[in-house]
Structures are given as structure tokens and as C-alpha cells.
């Protein structure tokens, strides 16, 4: 490179810097591509099928003569499973984060953090398989219900997958609370628990909310584990012990069976579009919370 003249070198740097700039804006291009692509396919679908009937229809019979594409059962399924998972994961996740950040000694903290990182790395298919092989029969026998493939089982496994996200991010938020606050609280005579409850949780709240939102995002988008353990019954669930089917599971199980370009195929892209919008909103809210936390 040093054999080039000064001008040549300058041109080289300009080329390199423009490549870097291009890579920088590539992620915008990808988002626009994904959005445009999903939008295009679902637009064609929604021209042929009423959007109200699509979002609030109660029946999903895509292969009948006059096909019905109502995704309300799947939306209910996704919501039920996600809410269940959050009810389990949020308290456990936040308490674990508090423990790691405030109570545990330095060595234990490092070990726990590594373990949680490993936990996040376990593939969803493995979790789904383990859930199918072990948790499903247990749920079936404990609650004496006809099948263990229920929304409850799904929530249980999804909670397990959301915990690492919630723990890591809320631990970051709790850890970033300035030490002056802690010492101030302790100096005023608060016990350690009072200090945690009154001061730390309050200050770290935006970060914790962000963590919860990201956890929800992960749960809503989870696919393989859900296919294997929620039973995939396309009806509106009446209790948490009903089999349900989620939006993601519908795409993954039916995509292989559709004929490319047909209306059924397009309807799955429309579901993908709905998912895209949902996760976009969830992540956007999470980002607002996390930004607030940063401006502490």
C-alpha cells in the first residue's frame, strides 16, 4: 500500500470508507427490503380477502373450497402463551437479576452470569424436545387433563427462554444505578432490602421494563419450541389448559404445505407481516425504556 502515490492512497482510503459507509446503511436496506417484501405479498392477499375478516375471523380453514383465513385463534394463542410466560418469567427474572447484582459475591456473580449466557444459547429446538419428552407427560398427569400439549406447557418452556433476556438486561440496568444512591439510602438507615426495594428498583425501573419488553419480543417470536409443545389446535382457547396454536407455529407448519403464489401462501406472509408489526412495536417500546435508563 505504501508503494502507491499519495493520491492513490487517498483514493484507496476513500474507497474503504465508502465501503464502510455502505455496510453501515445496509441494515436500513435490509429492514426496508423485509418490510417491503412482506407488505407486497400481504397486500395482494388483503386485496382478495377482507382485512377485518382476516384479523377477527374465528376460523382458519385455508384448504376448503371457500377458504377461511381468520387468525383470531392464533392471536389469542400467541397472547395467552406470552402472558403466561411473562407471569412466570418476570418475577423470577427480576429477582434473579437483583440477586446477581446486589447479593451475590463477585465470584458467584461471574459464575451465574456465565450460566445464564449458556442458558440463552440452548437452541429452542432442544428446549422444545425436552419439553415434549419430559414436561408434557408431567403436566398431563399432574393436572389430569386429556393432553399435556397445552398453552400452559408452552408458557412454562417459553418462560425458560425469556428468563435469560430479562435477567441480563435488567441486571445491566440495576448495575448501572450510581453507587451514591445506594450509600445514601444505607446512610439514612435503610436495610439492604429496603434500599433495593425503594431506591434501586425505582431507579432501574425503565431498564427493567425494557428488559420485560424484550423478553416479550423473544416469546412472541419463538417458533420451534412452540410447535412441539402447544398442541397446535386452531381454535380459540377457553382456558390455559387448552391446546393452542400461535402465529409463528402457523407459518412454520403450513409454509411447507402451500403451493407457491397461491392465496394460502400469501396468507402466511400476511401473518408474517402481522408478526413483524407486533415485534416492531414491542421492540420500539423496549428501546424507549432502555434509552431512558441510559440517560440516568
Amino acid at each position: 500500500m505504501y508503494y502507491f502515490g499519495k493520491n492513490m492512497r487517498k483514493i484507496l482510503y476513500i474507497i474503504i470508507e465508502s465501503i464502510i459507509f455502505f455496510c453501515g446503511i445496509l441494515s436500513i436496506i435490509f429492514v426496508i427490503l423485509i418490510f417491503g417484501f412482506l407488505f407486497k405479498e400481504s397486500f395482494v392477499f388483503l386485496k382478495n380477502y377482507n382485512i377485518v375478516k382476516f384479523l377477527f375471523g374465528r376460523f382458519w380453514y385455508p384448504t376448503l373450497e371457500t377458504a377461511l383465513f381468520g387468525i383470531l385463534p392464533f392471536i389469542c394463542g400467541s397472547v395467552l402463551v406470552s402472558v403466561g410466560a411473562c407471569i412466570i418469567a418476570v418475577p423470577i427474572g427480576i429477582m434473579t437479576a437483583l440477586f446477581i447484582s446486589e447479593v451475590a459475591s463477585k465470584n458467584i456473580r461471574n459464575i451465574l452470569k456465565s450460566l445464564i449466557e449458556l442458558m440463552a444459547a440452548i437452541p429452542s429446538i432442544v428446549i422444545g424436545f425436552i419439553g415434549m419428552a419430559t414436561i408434557v407427560p408431567i403436566v398431563k398427569n399432574v393436572f389430569s387433563i386429556p393432553t399435556g400439549l397445552t398453552a400452559f406447557t408452552g408458557s412454562l418452556m417459553l418462560a425458560f427462554m425469556a428468563i435469560p433476556t430479562i435477567v441480563t438486561i435488567s441486571e445491566d440496568a440495576i448495575h448501572s444505578v450510581p453507587w451514591q444512591y445506594r450509600e445514601g439510602a444505607l446512610a439514612l438507615g435503610a436495610t439492604k432490602w429496603q434500599m433495593m426495594k425503594i431506591v434501586i428498583l425505582k431507579i432501574a425501573m425503565p431498564g427493567i421494563m425494557g428488559a420485560i419488553m424484550l423478553g416479550i419480543g423473544r416469546v412472541v417470536g419463538e417458533t420451534m419450541a412452540v410447535i412441539m409443545i402447544t398442541g397446535n389446535a386452531a381454535h380459540i382457547p377457553t382456558s390455559i389448559f387448552d391446546p393452542v396454536r400461535t402465529l409463528t407455529a402457523t407459518i412454520a407448519t403450513e409454509m411447507g404445505e402451500t403451493v407457491k403464489g397461491g392465496i394460502h401462501y400469501k396468507s402466511l406472509f400476511a401473518i408474517g407481516f402481522v408478526l413483524f408489526i407486533i415485534t416492531f412495536i414491542v421492540n420500539f417500546i423496549a428501546d424507549i425504556f432502555l434509552k431512558k435508563n441510559k440517560n440516568l
Binding site: 442458558m119 411447507g256 416492531f280
Partner: protein, 284 residues
């Protein structure tokens, strides 16, 4: 008296904190333990290096392991240069303007899109539109887009942790921006980039949904020999033998899960150990 009381009452919430942590840890250990206990007996050299036989009820998982390696390799080649360049742009060049904010928003959004939607996108764009077919290259491209935000974020935080005084010292000597980055910032950020990247590789190797329609075949009678072949992939193979093929021996399914788990956790462990090592040696 009051003081004693509050000290005593503190024990109860602390007990809950302990309990929650244990509740978090126990399932991880249980899952690993169950898989090792049930799968270890079926693992042998033949299982790891032979083709599936007898309707996938016997034989090995070699093509699936190889397919997974192949797809990871190709994804690394696609995603790392782009991801690292993007992170350099965002951390070193980008000004605080609208464009940067839009890029940040795009990255957050990309990170949140469900994996199955990436699968749809890959199917529609790479498989059908670009006519790459169901192949390793389509799968790797899909995974690359999916991993891009992760690589950008980790690389960015690694670059960010290089002190600004380094840059200022270099720039004040009249060295151009690119050379400062190339010779001062990047070498110091390598450990962080490396560990972050390895962790993201672990994540890639366990993903199923994006490659479901873009790269994986249920059964391939030959080993992959080009980028445009279909391959068997470990996670998808696990899915197939645990839900679609009847009467597969339990220990074979567990053994497949075991191999997948070892692959993913092994890669993650390398990253964690490397990070601890680098942290100890950090000079600043």
C-alpha cells in the same frame, strides 16, 4: 426493637431472591443432565460419522453435522465483514444525525424480528426470487441477515470500550481517520469482537426456523459438495426424528440433541473462557 424487626424481615425477601435464582439455574442443569443421561449411551464413533439408515431409525447423523458446519462457515463469511464494517461506521464515523438514528432503529428492529419471519423472507427472496433454490447459500444468507444486528451490537460495544484518548492521541499526530481505526482502534478491540462473534456463532448453529424453508432437506443421500446443494441440518434433523418419523429409538433422539447441545454450548464456553482470559490481560 424496630431495627431488629426490619433486619429480621429482610430475611424473607432475601430467601425469595435465593429461591428465584435457584429456580433459574435448576432447569438449565436439569436439561443438560437429562440429555446427557439419556443420550450418552447412543453416542459412538459410528453415530457421529455414518449416514442415517433404516428410515433414519438407525445409523448416524454425519450429514447433519457436516451440513450444520457448512452453513455456519458460509454465514460467518457473509456476516462478519459486513457486520464489523457497519459497527465501525456507527461507532467511528457516524455523526449524531437523523441517518444514524434511523440506522439504530433499523438495527433494533432487525434484532427483534422473529426467526420464522426471516425464514419467510429468505424463502421469498433468496429461494424464489434470486432462484438460488433450497440450498446452503440461501440458508446462510438468511442467517446472515438475522445475525447482522447481533454482530453489529457486540462489535460496537467492543469498539466503544477502546478509550477515546487512544484515538485522540493518534489523530493529534495527524494520522488519518482510517489509519487510526486500522492501527489503533481495531487491534485493541479484537478480543471483544472475537468473543462477541463466537457467541453469535453459537446462536446461529442452533437456529431452525430460518433454515426450515431455505436450506434443509429431510433426507439427502449424499454429502454436500457445493454451495447450491440441499443439506441436512442438525436442529432440523432433531425436529424430524422427534416428531415426524415414527418409532425412532429414544436414545438416538437424545443423542442427536446431545450433539447439538455440545456444539452450541461448546462454542459458547470457548467465548466465555476467552472473555475471562482477555479481561485479565487487559492493559487499560
Amino acid at each position: 426493637m424496630i431495627k431488629l424487626n426490619s433486619k429480621f424481615s429482610q430475611k424473607i425477601p432475601f430467601f425469595f431472591l435465593y429461591a428465584a435464582t435457584i429456580l433459574t439455574i435448576i432447569p438449565v442443569i436439569t436439561i443438560i443432565f437429562v440429555i446427557i443421561k439419556n443420550g450418552l449411551s447412543a453416542i459412538n464413533w459410528e453415530f457421529l460419522t455414518s449416514m442415517p439408515r433404516d428410515g433414519m431409525r438407525a445409523g448416524g447423523i454425519f450429514p447433519a453435522i457436516l451440513g450444520t458446519f457448512f452453513i455456519i462457515l458460509l454465514t460467518i463469511i457473509f456476516v462478519f465483514p459486513i457486520g464489523i464494517c457497519a459497527a465501525i461506521y456507527l461507532n467511528e464515523y457516524a455523526k449524531n444525525n437523523l441517518l444514524t438514528r434511523v440506522i439504530n432503529l433499523a438495527i433494533i428492529n432487525l434484532a427483534g424480528i422473529p426467526s420464522v419471519v426471516y425464514g419467510l423472507f429468505g424463502l421469498g427472496v433468496f429461494v424464489i426470487f434470486f432462484k438460488l433454490g433450497v440450498s446452503v447459500v440461501s440458508g446462510a444468507l438468511t442467517l446472515s441477515i438475522m445475525e447482522l444486528p447481533v454482530v453489529i451490537t457486540t462489535t460496537r460495544s467492543a469498539l466503544n470500550s477502546v478509550p477515546y484518548s487512544f484515538r485522540e492521541a493518534s489523530l493529534s499526530l495527524g494520522i488519518s481517520r482510517w489509519l487510526t481505526i486500522r492501527h489503533i482502534v481495531l487491534p485493541n478491540a479484537v478480543p471483544g469482537i472475537l468473543t462477541g462473534s463466537i457467541l453469535s456463532i453459537a446462536r446461529i448453529s442452533g437456529e431452525t426456523a430460518p433454515v426450515l424453508f431455505t436450506a434443509s432437506a429431510l433426507y439427502v443421500s449424499y454429502l454436500p459438495h457445493s454451495m447450491f446443494d440441499q443439506v441436512m441440518i442438525l436442529p432440523y434433523h432433531l425436529y424430524v426424528i422427534s416428531t415426524q418419523v415414527p418409532n425412532v429409538r429414544k436414545d438416538m433422539i437424545y443423542a442427536t440433541a446431545f450433539v447439538l447441545l455440545i456444539l452450541v454450548l461448546g462454542i459458547s464456553c470457548i467465548a466465555i473462557v476467552a472473555r475471562i482470559y482477555f479481561k485479565r490481560r487487559k492493559k487499560w
